[in-house]
Point group: C2
Chain length 202, copies 2
């Protein structure tokens, strides 16, 4: 497989989607991995765009069949990444971008570490995160509080990532993201390098 | 320290200097680490530009004083990297570029791994390397043969590097190098991240 994987993690409110949108013209062709979930769609969410929405039974069948690259339960719902579209995109030589949590990063790295570059995206401070989540006001207070507690936990895993993008200015953060994405494409899998070394032996 | 280290390794004849020259306008301010050696200057080589030329006694005093980030003997001569200018450049937030061999890469990574991004630069094939070395004709046949044997050994360490640049086209290789250099600047040291996590705890 010729492609590469870029894992993005970071607190809700870090600005991941905005950064990807801003940078998309500078990073060439990529496949944004869509997660599968058993939770109900929220207003405006579309199947196959925001998530693949499936039943609990379908998800559990997928687990048994080994369909998932990574999965977890969060507040009673399953979330996971199907292996098939990721493999297809890698075989087409694409950059596959994941927006997953730090636990998902660990699993993807464990399974496909050869292909993985990772970046943790974070607001500069906790108080800035609070401000953004409250200003955005898409969630109620208890969800915001939970997000903040999650963020404080996730930030502790920052050292597991290849890169950290501190999003204090969207133009700067987007440029940094584009640089990292383009470098990620240059990462070569061990498999390819093995072949390369063999060629040199002749 | 705020800077970053980019280690470049690869066979003599891979095109490292040409690539750095081509890319230099795209990678911002950097400090190119100059090695110290006890070998005699070749025609045209300048002290403080190509190498710092010192006596055997001076070099050995430096070893005892812990002045070297890495050093080795090659064909009876010492080659090493002084720690001081590297530290100064890192403290100024600069990208420090090393052109050292795979053994030097191991030592720099062992001592300053937090700061290190590395790239192995290689011609696409062994026969292409031979062609380049013989065409360049700056060395006699026995030196060329030695370089080729070294290259075959060094290529086996390719998997220890973060990136591999296969220099089949100088414009493409220079662009890839610039992308890697700019990504290297975004690597954060564990120390900085430690402080960052502490701030988040408050």
């Amino acid at each position: 497989m010729q492609g590469a994987i870029l894992v993005l993690s970071g607190p809700s409110g870090a600005g991941k989607s905005t950064i990807i949108n801003h940078a998309s013209k500078d990073i060439g062709d990529y496949y944004f991995s869509i997660s599968t979930t058993t939770r109900d769609p929220r207003e405006g969410e579309k199947d196959g765009v925001d998530y693949y929405f499936v039943t609990r039974e379908e998800f559990e069948e997928g687990i048994k069949a080994g369909d998932f690259l990574e999965y977890a339960t969060v507040h009673g719902n399953y979330y996971g990444t199907s292996l098939k579209p990721v493999k297809e995109a890698l075989e087409e030589g694409k950059l596959v971008i994941f927006d997953i949590d730090v636990q998902g990063h660990r699993l993807v790295r464990a399974k496909m570490g050869d292909y993985v570059t990772s970046a943790f995206i974070t607001p500069p401070t906790l108080s800035e995160l609070k401000k953004r989540l409250y200003t955005r006001a898409t969630d109620n207070t208890s969800i915001i509080e939970r997000r903040i507690e999650n963020a404080k936990e996730e930030i502790k895993a920052v050292k597991e990532f290849d890169f950290v993008i501190i999003n204090d200015k969207i133009s700067k953060a987007s440029k940094e993201f584009a640089t990292i994405a383009n470098a990620a494409r240059l990462k070569q899998s061990s498999q390819e390098l093995e072949n390369f070394v063999k060629i040199w032996d002749n």
